[in-house]
Symmetry: C2
Subunit: 302 residues, 2 copies
């Protein structure tokens, strides 16, 4: 940088400083990544004319070791010294699903003390979105005891109280994760405090319902983020196969948002984001629908 080497108060150059630096002087926490792997799958439908309803699913693994032995947890693991956080997330994703190159987004880093009874653990959660048609090729392979759960949440109750300089709103939610074999149900309390024009949100687990660690909280948070992001970005396409009909796309929006959308408005909204093909989905007992694909020219803002 300059001709004269920079020295610190003890007269050391950078090389000297680094040579004598003791990296072990601070006690360090363990760092892990937790994966929130979502997909949307078709449920069974007996009436051949009707569209099969879709459901949002999340991947969990059964714990084979203490703590929380036998309970269900998010896939994840320790970040090794030589890999970046994102590489660790990709590695965990690959070992769990055998899939690469899918949508992956860092969500939040959970750093409360006491999250893990063994030691201090700080963990960063990543959300991955998988197209279920890719997935079905290798469902239930080597992964011991990894299973998909249908995910739903239910509003339970809400209270709002006035305080000296603002309000406090408490909201209770039930998070339900359902499988052919298992049914997990957790209760989470979300407290929103408004004081002195500052909004703060806190999440607490009221009942973990057989979900290990604080993972019920991480799942609820991810679901909220997924809902928020699907409205103003194009992440929904990461859940779709290469070719899809507009009705299928709309179903994906509906199952994530948990409400029905009007077809006319929906089609107007996505019109610029998709490209027509000349293929049709046929043999469905009703008018065939055109297949579309994602339009990569569509530039989302940012």
């Amino acid at each position: 940088m300059t001709d004269k080497p920079l020295v610190n108060k003890r007269g050391q150059t950078e090389q000297e400083y680094l040579r004598t630096y003791d990296a072990s002087q601070f006690e360090r926490p363990s760092v892990t990544v937790d994966m929130l792997i979502f997909t949307v799958v078709d449920e069974q439908e007996e009436n051949y004319r009707k569209l099969s309803p879709k459901s949002l699913q999340i991947l969990l693994v059964k714990r084979g070791e203490h703590p929380f032995l036998g309970q269900w947890a998010l896939p994840g693991g320790f970040v090794s010294p030589r890999e970046s956080l994102e590489d660790a997330a990709k590695r965990e994703l690959f070992t769990e699903t055998n899939i690469q190159n899918i949508y992956l987004e860092q969500l939040y880093t959970w750093g409360d003390v006491g999250r893990d009874p063994r030691m201090r653990v700080i963990s960063t959660s990543y959300m991955a979105l998988v197209d279920s048609s890719t997935l079905s090729l290798q469902a239930g392979d080597d992964a011991d005891e990894a299973e998909w759960f249908r995910i739903e949440d239910k509003w339970l109750k809400e209270t709002k109280t006035a305080t000296e300089n603002g309000t406090v709103t408490e909201k209770w939610l039930e998070l339900r994760l359902v499988n052919a074999k298992e049914e997990l149900s957790a209760t989470i309390k979300i407290t929103k405090t408004i004081a002195n024009r500052i909004v703060q949100v806190k999440r607490e687990i009221v009942d973990a319902g057989n979900i290990a660690f604080d993972h019920a909280k991480l799942i609820q948070y991810a679901l909220e983020r997924l809902r928020g992001k699907i409205e103003y970005t194009d992440i929904a396409f990461a859940l779709m196969p290469e070719l899809f009909t507009l009705s299928e796309l709309q179903q994906v929006y509906e199952v994530i948002l948990g409400k029905e959308l009007l077809a006319a408005a929906f089609r107007r909204k996505v019109a610029d984001k998709v490209l027509e093909t000349n293929q049709y989905r046929k043999h469905a007992g009703h008018r065939p629908s055109k297949y579309y694909r994602f339009n990569p020219e569509w530039m989302e803002q940012s």
Copy 2:
């Protein structure tokens, strides 16, 4: 939980397992928090009739030790074993500014290897928003070499290339941090890859321009998040004093978004979020403006 205690494959109960657990078996990274502390201040204005223009500022500290000795860095420090991530952020904020109970939000966790030449460091960045009127009371106190910098960014150039199954957009930005005494200028490249309907964004420092570590990247990211959030949340109020005029509020939006807004539309938009007072800002060489305060009853969606 049950009468028979759960045991793992080695026949251990949870108590036995935890007693024999070796917490030091994995090599662990250091974890730090980095603080992005923003405020909006009035610049000088000679014409007594005109409103003083506002500028967005960020707090930096001058490094007194290797590495990056003499360069400017974000305030921050190590997370200690007994405090949560958020507590660490609050502690750093307090030691740096003497302020508590302000807006604080976790932004992102940076986990690339080689971010710090001393050792593996993973750091979580937190954004804090400060009302500058509170701040002026204790500006430039004990904090050695902490200073506010006016922050601006400038679009430099953009390229868009078609690839096999999507597009790649590269955008170069200049980040300028200006002070009475110093002027830092960094260049950042943002690469946005769209492949197979999946969007990925990567940030790289092209020229760190006397900003320590990868902090230029963290600052640019925080600025982008601040811009995004001010549009769909009410965080702007965290930057305002208790009483403010609507023109002042509009100025804050304008300086953060970097564009002018139409007064009529702006007033319609914030009308429900504020409460009138019967006080006026006078002696300004023009029609007095009414003071408003934040309306805590205004519920933002979430």
